[in-house]
């Protein structure tokens, strides 16, 4: 990567302003809606992203993705309802600031922390990418088998509240991902007699069903996304004191920097995601603060930490996708599907075969952040009113429009029905706390996992011990075992402590 190449990439991305700006606006709108994630928006607009050139699709997806994360903080601050899981930690100090009459300052803090946190980590990723991308070259089929299982396990352990349920969901997804003909002899497996499944389970209908449709089926339970008291607050939001908010941001510039790097580090781990990063950054910020007792009472640091980490995650999430072909989260998974549709093969080879795409992703992210600086501040106040749309309208539109979008990938009506089936599975998973992200990541990783596993086993002529034949692989196995054992051990200790406490109370 040379400076000339990089400048050229920036020029290309700035030339796509006509895509980036609408994507930012759209991302802000849907980001404010709780439960309406960037992946659902991308899914709804999938036919559009599949029809345009890959560079244009990429710029659109990235800008929407970044804006969406940023906007999740708006309802979190104004009405204590996070627009996304990543903004949940923002409510801890953002909402108390609103209650103290500092809603506007809190919003400005949220925007500046998000934009600059995201920009800093994107530029850092861009600088480190040549080394990060080399990571994939050290991983052969044996190690990749463990990496795939590791990613899936982390999602099960971190994203799902119940590890066992997360693991069941993940392995269920992996098995669904094996549907179709095998890699060596092309013999069909578990296709239920449908010729449409010979190529495997199409990812777009799976995504639509598991996320959009299942979410809409849950949404019908409430008349409005916001609660009654939140509704009044949403209607009463005011803009005043923007300069004051900017001054506060400048005072805490160092916190924006270091908490965004916390986000970047967590984002690189597949499955960790924005929610975990935001809470970890908030916790770390309080740990190192001179006045930890003020956290939760409405202080700027309490808004900055989760928001800059939440946005720092994004470039990190894309690193495993670009360098290893393992999506770091559900939005990255959608992007990966679109890029694969355009013929891009994720992994270290991408940096050689398509450097414009491999680096362009991060350049596009940096440019999107620069555009956002000028877009978000004047718009946020008005956009916060979108939470007032009743679910009476939202749920049917989401279900029917996304069902139509399911047709887009392969142009089979069968895929619409398949999306509905996944929607029902996703709904059951939602209701019973089996994490749909784990199922989805399993479906995505299923064919890739099989490819690496069979490749390894063919080398060893069917001997499974080859999976434990490399040093790096064995280190990863140990980490995998630890990632499963430690949360289980911690849970056991907590239960034991709770039981002892209850016994003490009874005495």
């Amino acid at each position: 990567m040379t400076w000339a190449f990089l400048l050229d990439q920036f020029a290309v991305q700035f030339g796509l302003w006509w895509v980036i700006w609408p994507a930012i606006l759209l991302g802000i709108v849907v980001g404010i809606l709780p439960g309406f994630s960037p992946q659902n928006t991308l899914i709804m607009l999938l036919p559009l992203t599949l029809a345009v050139k890959v560079e244009v699709a990429l710029a659109f997806m990235i800008a929407l993705y970044c804006a969406n994360h940023l906007a999740g903080g708006i309802p979190a601050i104004l009405v204590k309802i996070p627009g996304s899981g990543g903004a949940a930690a923002t409510t801890l100090d953002g909402y108390p600031m609103t209650r103290k009459g500092q809603a506007q300052q809190a919003l400005v803090l949220c925007f500046t922390a998000s934009v600059f946190g995201g920009l800093i980590t994107t530029l850092a990723t861009l600088a480190l990418l040549p080394w990060l991308s080399q990571l994939g070259l050290y991983l052969r089929s044996v190690e990749m088998v463990v990496v795939m299982l590791f990613g899936l396990t982390l999602i099960a352990v971190i994203a799902a509240k119940d590890m066992l349920k997360g693991l069941i969901a993940g392995f269920f997804g992996l098995l669904i991902g094996v549907i179709g003909t095998d890699h060596i002899y092309n013999t069909p497996r578990a296709t239920l007699g449908f010729i449409e499944l010979y190529d495997g389970v199409p990812l777009v209908p799976a995504l639509i069903g598991l996320f959009a449709i299942s979410e809409a089926l849950v949404m019908v339970e409430e008349k409005l996304i916001v609660a009654k008291d939140g509704l009044e607050r949403a209607a009463g939001a005011r803009w005043a004191g923007t300069i004051e908010g900017l001054r506060m941001s400048l005072e805490h510039w160092w916190q924006i920097v270091w908490t965004s790097f916390v986000g970047l580090a967590i984002g690189i781990i597949p499955g960790a995601g924005a929610s975990v990063a935001a809470f970890v950054a908030y916790q770390q910020s309080r740990l190192w603060s001179k006045h930890p007792e003020l956290y939760g009472t409405g202080i700027p640091e309490g808004v900055i930490a989760p928001e800059s980490a939440n946005n720092g995650v994004k470039s990190g999430t894309l690193v495993p996708m670009m360098a290893l072909g393992v999506p770091g989260g559900s939005t990255a998974a959608v992007m990966m599907i679109v890029l694969q549709y355009h013929g891009m093969v994720m992994g270290p080879r991408l940096f050689v075969t398509n450097p414009g795409i491999a680096y362009g992703v991060f350049v596009s992210m940096a440019v999107a952040y620069l555009f956002m600086v000028f877009t978000i501040l004047p718009l946020a106040r008005y956009m916060s009113r979108i939470v007032l749309i009743p679910t009476t309208y939202l749920a049917p539109v989401i279900v029917l429009v996304t069902i139509v979008a399911a047709f887009g990938e392969r142009q089979y009506l069968f895929d619409m029905a398949l999306a509905l089936v996944f929607g029902v599975i996703g709904y059951i998973a939602h209701k019973t706390s089996y994490h749909v992200t784990a199922i989805l990541i399993g479906i995505i990783l299923g064919p890739v996992f099989e490819q690496y596993l069979v490749r390894s086993l063919r080398i060893s002529e069917g001997d499974f011990s080859i999976l434990f034949s490399s040093t790096l692989g064995n280190v990863l196995w140990v980490l995998l075992a630890l990632s499963l054992a430690l949360p289980a051990w911690r849970g056991y200790r907590q239960r034991k402590a709770l039981a002892a406490e209850q016994l003490g109370d009874e005495r």
Binding site: P47, L48, A51, K161, L164, K165, L167, I168, A169, F171, F172, L174, L175, V178, D182, H183, I184, Y185, T187, R189, A190, T191, L192, I213, A216, L217, V220, E221, T392, Y393, A395, P396, V397, V399, L400, V401, I403, V404, F407, Q411, L413, A417, L420, V424, I425, Y427, I428, A429, K431, T432, S433, Y434, G446, F449, E450, L453, V454, L457, R458, G462
Partner: protein, 169 residues
């Protein structure tokens, strides 16, 4: 274990927790049958994943069984249906979507989407005629413009698409 207490005598209704494992187990068994006669390369992955999945399901069954045996839980399915008043809307939405998928073959995208969305909005409680017509009209028109006019996708064409094609050709 995430076991929210249910309405039935303070016991957590964990029957619903077994639906996904039951689906997964059924699928795993079917998968094993479907690969029984194949070469080891075609089987290896499915057997490995399937075996781990079945083991995890067995642990979950034991876990739920212990909770039920200790009297802390029952095998109720309340969590799947709750809240009950939303059930007709949810079921209706699924049925309308099935009808939409069936009807789109002969009614075409625009007309079937308009009718399905209007029906879904009515089901959700929208009674005012203006939004009941305007929202489906706007969505169907947008879908037509995006999928048929702009992207020229293979989505089925019906009377509306044929009429519009005749008008604009």
């Amino acid at each position: 274990m995430a076991s929210p207490s249910g309405p039935s005598g303070g016991k957590a209704p964990l029957g619903a927790d077994l639906v996904i494992p039951a689906l997964a187990l059924g699928f795993a068994v079917y998968f094993f049958f479907s690969i029984a006669d194949l070469s080891w390369e075609a089987k290896a992955n499915g057997v490995l994943i399937g075996a781990i999945l079945v083991s995890l399901i067995a642990i979950q069954l034991v876990r739920v069984g212990v909770q039920v045996a200790k009297g802390r839980a029952n095998l109720g399915f309340e969590r799947l249906w709750a809240p009950r008043d939303a059930l007709p809307k949810r079921m209706g939405l699924v049925l309308i979507t099935i009808a939409f998928i069936v009807a789109i073959r002969w009614a075409g995208l625009t007309l079937s989407l308009f009718v399905a969305l209007a029906a879904a909005l009515y089901l959700m409680g929208v009674r005012k005629p203006v939004p009941l017509v305007a929202v489906p009209l706007a969505v169907a028109a947008s879908a037509y413009l995006l999928f048929i006019a702009a992207l020229d996708s293979d989505l089925p064409r019906g009377p509306v698409e044929q009429l519009l094609a005749a008008l604009f050709q």
